[in-house]
C-alpha cells in the first residue's frame, strides 16, 4: 500500500509531449477550499499559468456549498474546482465535471498512473495529494506523566483523563466537533472505525441506527467531555488555534494541518513539542477510525473548451511538479511523481497500509453527512439518547433522500 501511495508509476505513456505551463489563451477561474496546503499548490498553479494568463482563484471553506450552484450555471461561474473523494460525488451526480482523457493524453505525460481518478473507465479528476485525519500529541506532556502514545481511542480517553486529573490541562483533547460538516465527519470516522456501513447493501436505505452507531456516538461523547466546553463551535481551524495556544495535548485533525502547525509562526516551543501519530483504532477494530482522502483537480462541463484547456494546463502543471512536492515535503502527502515523503507523511501512509476506508463516495452520501451534521447535537449535549439521535438521523436522511429522488 505504501508503494501504491508514493509509487513511481512506470506505465506512464509519453504520448503527449506538450508542456502544460505558459498559458496564453483562455481564462482560468478556480474554486478551492481554504487551507495552507491549497495556498501552496495554488502559488504553483499560478506560476505555471505564467504572467500572460488570465488567472483567478477563489479560496473558500464553503466550497462544498457553492460548487453545485456555481458549476450548474451555463457558462459556469468557475472553470475548474479542486475536489476530494467527498466533494466529487455531487458534481458527478449532475454531470457538472467533464471527462479529462484527451487533456490528460495531451498534457499529462508526467502524471503517476494512480493520480488518475477514473470512474466507469473515464478520467474525471487528477489527484495531487492524499490526506487523512490522525492523532497529534504533545510529547513532553505525555512523557512527564509516563503515558505511552495512544494507539486506540480507549487509550486516548485514558490519557486525556490522566492529564486532566494531574491538573496539567482542563480540556486536554480537541477535535473538530463544530455542528455541521465537521461533526458529521467525526461520526463518519468513528462509525467506520467500528466497522459500520452507512447504507443497507445495494440500496440507498440508511443503516446507522445500530450497535456500532451507538458505540461510535458514546466514544465521541467521552471525547467531547474532555474537550473545550465550546466544542460545538470549533472547526478545524479553531482547534489548530487551541493547539497553538498550548491548551491541548491530544487532537485528531488533518495531516495537511502540518503546513500551518509546523511553520515558523507561533510558539516555537509548542511546535518543537508537537508529534504526529497514526490514527487510533476503536472498539477493538483493526482499521484506524479515520478516512482516506485524495484531493484533485476537476474541470467544469459548462465552460468553453478553451477555458477548460487553459485551466487544466495550469493545474496539471502543478499536479505534476516534482519541485513543488520536494520543496514542500511536509505540506501534505503529495501523489506527484518523484516525491520523497517528508517527516509528516507517516500517519497517512500508515492509515493507507492498514486498510483504512476511503471516504464513501456514494451519490447519496452527502445527504447522509448532512443529516449527521444536524441531528447529533442534542445527544452530545445530553438531551437525548444515542438511539434517539441515530433514529433522528435516519428519519432526516429519508425525508431528504426522498425529496432528492434517491428513495
Amino acid at each position: 500500500m505504501l508503494a501504491l501511495l508514493i509509487s513511481f508509476a512506470s506505465t506512464s505513456v509519453f504520448a503527449g509531449s506538450h508542456s502544460p505551463c505558459g498559458v496564453t489563451n483562455g481564462s482560468i477561474n478556480i474554486l478551492a477550499n481554504e487551507f495552507t496546503t491549497y495556498r501552496i499548490f495554488m502559488d504553483e498553479v499560478k506560476s505555471c499559468a505564467g504572467p500572460d494568463a488570465d488567472f483567478n482563484v477563489t479560496h473558500s471553506v464553503d466550497h462544498n456549498k457553492l460548487q453545485v450552484a456555481a458549476l450548474s450555471a451555463n457558462p459556469a461561474e468557475f472553470s475548474a474546482k479542486l475536489v476530494t473523494n467527498g466533494s466529487i460525488t455531487p458534481l458527478m451526480n449532475d454531470g457538472l465535471i467533464r471527462p479529462l482523457d484527451d487533456l490528460v493524453e495531451k498534457y499529462g505525460s508526467n502524471l503517476n498512473e494512480n493520480q488518475k481518478i477514473t470512474i466507469d473507465g473515464k478520467i474525471y479528476a487528477v489527484a495531487f495529494m492524499a490526506n487523512a485525519q490522525h492523532l497529534w500529541y504533545r510529547e513532553s506532556i505525555l512523557n512527564d506523566l509516563g503515558i505511552a502514545v495512544p494507539s486506540t481511542y480507549e487509550e486516548v480517553i485514558a490519557a486525556a483523563e490522566k492529564i486532566k486529573a494531574a491538573g496539567v490541562m482542563d480540556n486536554p483533547y480537541a477535535g473538530a466537533f463544530k455542528s455541521g460538516w465537521n461533526l458529521g465527519q467525526e461520526f463518519v470516522n468513528m462509525y467506520l472505525g467500528h466497522g459500520g456501513e452507512f447504507f443497507k447493501s445495494g440500496s440507498a436505505q440508511p443503516n446507522v441506527n445500530n450497535e456500532k452507531g451507538v458505540a461510535a456516538l458514546n466514544v465521541i461523547k467521552k471525547l467531547t467531555e474532555l474537550s473545550n466546553p465550546d466544542f460545538l463551535t470549533q472547526d478545524t481551524n479553531a482547534v489548530k488555534e487551541e493547539w497553538e495556544s498550548g491548551n491541548v495535548a491530544l487532537m485528531h485533525v488533518w495531516n495537511s494541518g502540518a503546513a500551518s502547525l509546523l511553520d515558523d509562526e507561533g510558539d516555537q516551543d509548542i511546535k518543537a513539542d508537537t508529534r504526529l501519530a497514526p490514527s487510533p483504532t476503536v472498539g477493538g477494530g483493526s482499521k484506524p477510525a479515520t478516512t482516506l482522502w485524495w484531493d484533485g483537480i476537476a474541470i467544469a462541463t459548462n465552460t468553453s473548451d478553451e477555458n477548460a484547456e487553459a485551466s487544466f494546463r495550469a493545474l496539471v502543471g502543478a499536479a505534476s511538479s516534482t519541485d513543488l512536492a520536494n520543496n514542500n515535503p511536509n505540506a501534505t502527502v503529495w501523489l506527484i511523481k518523484g516525491y520523497t515523503p517528508g517527516d509528516t507523511a507517516g500517519p497517512v501512509v500508515d492509515a493507507a497500509s492498514r486498510g483504512t476506508t476511503p471516504y464513501p463516495s456514494f451519490p447519496h452520501m452527502s445527504l447522509m453527512h448532512g443529516a449527521l451534521s444536524t441531528e447529533l447535537v442534542e445527544f452530545l449535549q445530553g438531551n437525548e439518547s444515542a438511539e434517539k439521535a441515530l433514529a433522528d438521523v435516519e428519519a432526516a436522511y429519508i425525508a431528504k433522500a426522498t425529496e432528492q429522488g434517491f428513495l
Binding site: M92, N93, I119, F231, L232, P363, I398, K400, E403
Partner: protein, 342 residues
C-alpha cells in the same frame, strides 16, 4: 380620496408588488409541491490512489432525460409539507398514540426539526419585542431631555447597533463572549466558575441570542419613539405641570397615550423582523442549539450539496402563514382603531 384617484395612485406600487412579491411567492408555492425526479443509479468501477472498487453513481444521461421531461420535478402535492422535516403529521400521530404522558408527547414533537425551529423563533419573537419597545421608549425619553450640544453625538451612538451589519455585530459579540474574550472571561470571574461557557449550553446560547436581539433592535424603537416625541403637544404638558403633575404622571397620562399608535406600529415591525431571525444564529455559530425557520430555508438551499428547492419552498410558505397568524391580532386592533377614529 375618490376610488378612481386611489386606483391610479396605487397602481404603480400595486404592479411592483405583484411583480416582485406576489409572483415569487406563487413560484415558491409551485416549487414546494414538487420533488426531484428519480435518480437512476448504475454500478461502475472507480479507481483512485487507494485502489479500484465497484461503486454506484448516478446515471447522468438517464436522469437528465427524466429531468428534461419534467423540469419542475415529480408532483408531490403537499407531501413535502407533511414530511418529517416540516409539519410531520405521521410522526406527530405516532407520538400521540405511543407516548404515555403529555410531557413525553411534547418532547417528541419539539424534537422534530420544524417544531424545534418554530419554538425558538417564537421564543425569540416574544422575548425580544417587549423589552425592545420598553427600552426604546426609555432611551427616547432620556435622549429627549439632553441639551442640544451633546444630543447629536448621543443619538448617533444610540443608533449604532442598528447601523452595524447584523452578521458583523453578532460576530463581534461572539468573540467577546468567548471564554477568552472580555465578556466571557469577566463572567467566569464573576461567577467563580472557570468552565462557564455561554456557547456551551443551549439555555445560555438562547439567552445570548435574545440579548443580542434586544441590543440590535432597540435603536429602531428608539428612533421611531424619538421622532414621535417631537409631535407631543406642549400645551397639555404645561397645563399638567401647572396642576402639579409629576414627571412620571405627565409621561404616564399624556405622553404614553399619545404614542400608543406608534408603539403598535413598532410592535408590528419588530414581530415581523424577529420572526425571520437568522444572522445571529450564523454569527454565534449557534446552529446546533438554536434553529429558526429562516435558518431552515438557508440550510435547505445552502448547507446541502444539492439545493432542496421543494423543502425550502415549503418552509417559506409555512413562514408566511406563521407571520400572518402572528400579525392578525395586531392588524385587527389597528383596523378597529382606524374605524373608531373615523
Amino acid at each position: 380620496m375618490p376610488h378612481k384617484t386611489f386606483f391610479w395612485f396605487i397602481l404603480p406600487t400595486g404592479l411592483a408588488m405583484i411583480l416582485f412579491i406576489g409572483l415569487p411567492i406563487v413560484s415558491s408555492f409551485f416549487q414546494s409541491l414538487h420533488i426531484e425526479t428519480e435518480q437512476i443509479l448504475m454500478e461502475v468501477e472507480n479507481c483512485d490512489p487507494f485502489g479500484c472498487k465497484t461503486n454506484v453513481r448516478v446515471d447522468v444521461e438517464a436522469t437528465e432525460k427524466l429531468r428534461q421531461e419534467n423540469p419542475l420535478g415529480r408532483f408531490n402535492g403537499f407531501g413535502t409539507y407533511t414530511d418529517r422535516n416540516h409539519l410531520a403529521f405521521d410522526e406527530i400521530g405516532e407520538a400521540w398514540n405511543t407516548s404515555s404522558s403529555m410531557s413525553e408527547f411534547k418532547d417528541i414533537v419539539l424534537n422534530l426539526p420544524f417544531y424545534k425551529a418554530l419554538l425558538f423563533t417564537l421564543t425569540f419573537c416574544f422575548a425580544v419585542t417587549p423589552p425592545v419597545i420598553i427600552l426604546g421608549f426609555i432611551v427616547a425619553l432620556s435622549v429627549n431631555t439632553l441639551s442640544k450640544i451633546i444630543k447629536g453625538f448621543i443619538v448617533f451612538g444610540t443608533i449604532l447597533p442598528m447601523i452595524v451589519t447584523p452578521l458583523i455585530g453578532s460576530l463581534v459579540l461572539f468573540w467577546m463572549i468567548d471564554s477568552q474574550g472580555i465578556i466571557g472571561a469577566s463572567i467566569q470571574i464573576l461567577f467563580d466558575d472557570p468552565n462557564l461557557s455561554l456557547k456551551a449550553s443551549s439555555n445560555l446560547t438562547w439567552i445570548t441570542l435574545i440579548i443580542y436581539g434586544i441590543w440590535h433592535n432597540t435603536p429602531f424603537a428608539f428612533v421611531v419613539f424619538y421622532a414621535a416625541l417631537q409631535t407631543v403637544p406642549q400645551d397639555p404638558i404645561e397645563a399638567a405641570y401647572i396642576d402639579g403633575a409629576s414627571r412620571y404622571q405627565r409621561v404616564r397620562y399624556i405622553v404614553i397615550p399619545h404614542l400608543y399608535p406608534v408603539a403598535t406600529f413598532i410592535m408590528l415591525i419588530c414581530l415581523m423582523d424577529n420572526f425571520r431571525v437568522f444572522e445571529p444564529i450564523i454569527g454565534f455559530s449557534a446552529e446546533g442549539v438554536a434553529q429558526s425557520l429562516s435558518w431552515m430555508i438557508y440550510q435547505d438551499l445552502r448547507n446541502e450539496n444539492k439545493m432542496l428547492f421543494g423543502s425550502a419552498g415549503a418552509t417559506s410558505m409555512l413562514t408566511i402563514i406563521g407571520i400572518a397568524f402572528l400579525l392578525t391580532p395586531v392588524l385587527i386592533r389597528t383596523w378597529k382603531e382606524f374605524r373608531t377614529e373615523r
